[in-house]
Symmetry: D2
Subunit: 324 residues, 4 copies
């Protein structure tokens, strides 16, 4: 670790965008300015780090954007940064531009990139967990998760209207990659009759039992995670195999869950973690992610955050209770 | 046509539900009460008409529901009513219950049903166009169309956030059956780069030309109607055949477009058409649909309303201009 | 009227901002470009016209903003333009910059300004009605009205939740200056128990009769227009004079009605009127406002549009029916 | 404490309603049923407890309402329960109906009522913190707070549109009684230029300094808590005393903050706390509030929860940083 004073921070967003990233950038700009530190925005994640695709970030501009979705720095996945040559070029770009420290907002791929980069680069890095999937250890919630769940439930509430009007069985697929957090939260909070998440495996028995006995004078709502092992189509085919008389529909919410103005919680999370990221760099920390664990700011080494965030026992018990 | 005084009206919703149906029911209840007429709600469309599945409708209960989506009378498609025997049973149910007149809220299938029913039933019928597709002649807008478009654009606005963050090509599929109204309105109002509707046929040339030359530093947004002849998958495969380097995603908004609290315009449309339906029955009219044509209340015979509502010249010109 | 060919159009927004103005600017830019016309944005209404506070408007930038509220050209009220000297300076600014024609988006004050300006300026002007108040003749709806009503009803729906939980009497004041359109639409579409608009005068008798007999096991919702002659405080004091035992609350929705992403209808209205404004200038028209009357594009001379848009007979009858 | 087995739980909502109460009721019904316990809903808070105004609560009905605002049990403030006589009558009602335990959802007034009741009643009580104000100790967040903040920020985002279009100074007043939580969260997350909360006292100096130097080419947004000692009018008068040339507007968001469908977080909070309330009663706990502290379920004695929830050091530091 270099012991030089930090005078110039670079920040970028990487991986899938998530609502709240602009709020985090606003907070980083505020904290940098308050500490007399120069701040440079790096566009398109690692691609911009390699190519020197930079922009100046100032609080007044970011203040106007802090309530918006997406990331004003744009984001990308970078094949070049997976190669040593790309990382060497990135290092050179940092040196050329006198950048002393990096803040990266992204998911596990982003942090794996920083771990690889740390082998050749001695600048301090701090990460902020930005992904709608809530699949990062070291934080109760990732930036964007609450917004994604709110978008999901507003849409599922709408689907309930038409499902009840027709007494239909509806299968709604939500995002989350390997994590059932979005499905679990959006299913519980919309009064779903069945919730299927990857963590529970392909055990469809309880769902099939329940749908067989469902009150045909009412709707039956299934919320299911995306994924080949689970997903809406698989659930649909299992129900159809029952040969019961139901009127069944599928809706996959898709990328709407990634956009939109962030919720209050995600804006606050972005602000809290953005300020903390700057402060932790100034405190001499590096190679750690800033999270909010047990509702307190918390630092976790990158090695640990890339482990998947497990659904805890309280949530598992809720899933069991509400599946009855 | 019977010339008896109308003392008891039955009302039902039929076909796909659409936001605004409960506002129309509230208005019908208000107008019926003001005219001293008994009002009976018939549940589940023609199914309830056959089976006598009735409920009492009173203004105070409906007042609380008028802002909600779906239909509190439920709706269904009825195979039995397509047979003469089913219609005869429905006629008997009406006579047994002393119902003097019917108001039906639904789409073209509903009105075709009423036309068939009128061959054996001499009660007066008035229809209200309720479908999100806006595919009914005799009205500028059908009940639910404006809400569906608002739901579509709120979701497409969210997709724009993530599309711009990644510089992606996004294909968003909206509903509308054979009608391009939802796609046309939601595409124009979200600043889409290309809009594909059934009325324009399968001419993808302009889209493909445009996407070939699109600025890879930006998003490219396609809004397309559902349907085998058009649809998101077909557009996607056409773009992929170009073998250009784009990052392409598909989202099908699906049934979220059918639910949710109705927009202001749909609530007003429901109120205007609901009151007019009662008044037109009392005026001795029958076998006509109440619509709002050129922003004025208007009656159209059922024979004409089942012709599809054509996209007018002004809209076609707008489509052409904004496709450039 | 000059007969010179139009090669350069200036556009500005003036008076109170309203949702949909950015959609109209997008459409104007598209139509200008399609016709090979240069387009200049004039900032801050007549103030920018006097001072030459100009900006370039290009379709790609506006495409990204067309779904947003407010006006990207900013707006202002101009005392200087009310004086002949200010208007002379504005004329000189137009000549210096070779602007051939003007499009103004605003309310009656804006059009009165253009009428005064036309006495010394022979350039062609076209107006677009942009105000949430819907108080302009020559158009069914002004730009922003539908969005304001949707914002109002979403908030009134929320108030209904708490009003019903407490069995309270709620008085909600909405905007509209001298026009009852917002109150009438938002009251009817939220199932209000009483609606008070300036057009009905200060006749509180029906409201007071109704509230005296209201079911204390339920909420009682009053929607009232702003204004000294009417307004929430006056209604509140009249109810308190009854000395009946009610739990009464007031909410004034205020400026939230002026902002937010425009509704689908307002975006379409902006697009339709924006394109038509350019086309009508090219057709040689001047000193007219483009409106949508009976759902058709329509031109009205400025002299007539400044007359207040009257609440029509159908709406008056609905008000009477739903007040019972 | 009685050691009898709990077979019949009564539940009521009391004090101001808040979004999420229906989700909590749904969870309580689910948990009660899973444990074979009879559940009775008590309407209108302590009033219904005194009068025996009861209703049956079953999971299927509550499942449909869990996503809605308000409280389906209604709520009220009870003067009678403040008297010993009222509490004695309530005790008798409980005994007559064989209710073994109580769950109360409400704020500090509710818990003070339970403390007084516990002097004469030996039944076990568990409380759930339901208030938008977030002013209860023993929980990170109260039920309804997150929804209120989300409603506030959606409306403040709209106000930003019009404020920026006019370069206006806007003072937005939010709720919170003596607590600055809503103001602090909604101010930080909307990029407000100044935030005033009761906890900071009447020190307006920083605000006045900042507004004196504000960029007249932009908006200036103040978010302030309600209250006589602070409030929008006071801020407005202080700014006017500066005699600077600003265009100033006030909006008080009012009761819209109390209604609307609850946010995802509030629905989850209601579900988590509702299930825990039933389980803690069965575990033999009493006279405690179930909260979520440091993101974990936590029990706090009523004596402690009525102390006001203090704004913590992290939030104070954020307030200071973002006020610069």
């Amino acid at each position: 670790m270099r012991t030089n004073k930090i005078e110039h921070i670079g920040v970028f967003t990487s991986g899938g965008d998530s609502p709240g990233m602009n709020a985090a950038l606003y907070a980083i700009a505020k904290a940098a300015k308050a500490n007399g530190i120069k701040l440079t925005g790096i566009r398109k994640g690692y691609e911009g780090l390699i190519d020197g695709d930079f922009t100046t970030l100032k609080p007044p501009e970011l203040q106007k954007l802090s309530h918006t979705g997406g990331t004003m720095l744009k984001t990308a996945r970078s094949k070049r940064f997976m190669e040593l040559e790309g990382r060497k070029k990135a290092l050179q770009t940092l040196h050329t531009n006198n950048i002393d420290a990096l803040i990266a907002i992204g998911g596990d791929g982003t942090f794996k990139g920083l771990l690889a980069f740390s082998e050749i680069c001695d600048l301090p890095f701090i990460g902020i967990p930005g992904t709608i999937d809530n699949d990062i250890s070291g934080t109760d919630y990732t930036l964007g998760f609450d917004s994604a769940v709110n978008t999901a439930i507003e849409n599922i509430d709408k689907i309930r209207d038409t499902a009840e009007s027709h007494n239909r069985v509806f299968i709604v697929e939500v995002m989350g990659r390997d994590s059932g957090y979005i499905a679990l939260h959006s299913g519980l909070t919309t009064g779903a009759d069945a919730i299927l998440i990857p963590e529970s495996g392909k055990d469809f028995i309880y769902l099939l039992d329940k749908v067989k006995n469902y009150d045909s004078e009412d709707a039956f709502l299934v919320v299911v995670s995306e994924g080949d092992e689970i997903g809406a189509e698989l659930v649909s085919s299992k129900i159809k195999e029952l040969n019961i008389n139901v009127d069944l529909r599928i809706t996959k919410l898709g990328h709407v869950q990634r956009g939109g103005n962030p919720s209050a919680m995600d804006r606050m999370l972005g602000i809290r973690m953005g300020v903390a990221a700057v402060e932790q760099l100034l405190n001499g920390n590096s190679n750690k992610m800033v999270g909010v664990l047990n509702n307190q700011l918390h630092l976790t080494p990158f090695e640990e955050v890339v482990k998947q965030h497990q659904v805890n026992d309280e949530l598992k018990a809720l899933l069991k209770l509400f599946s009855k």
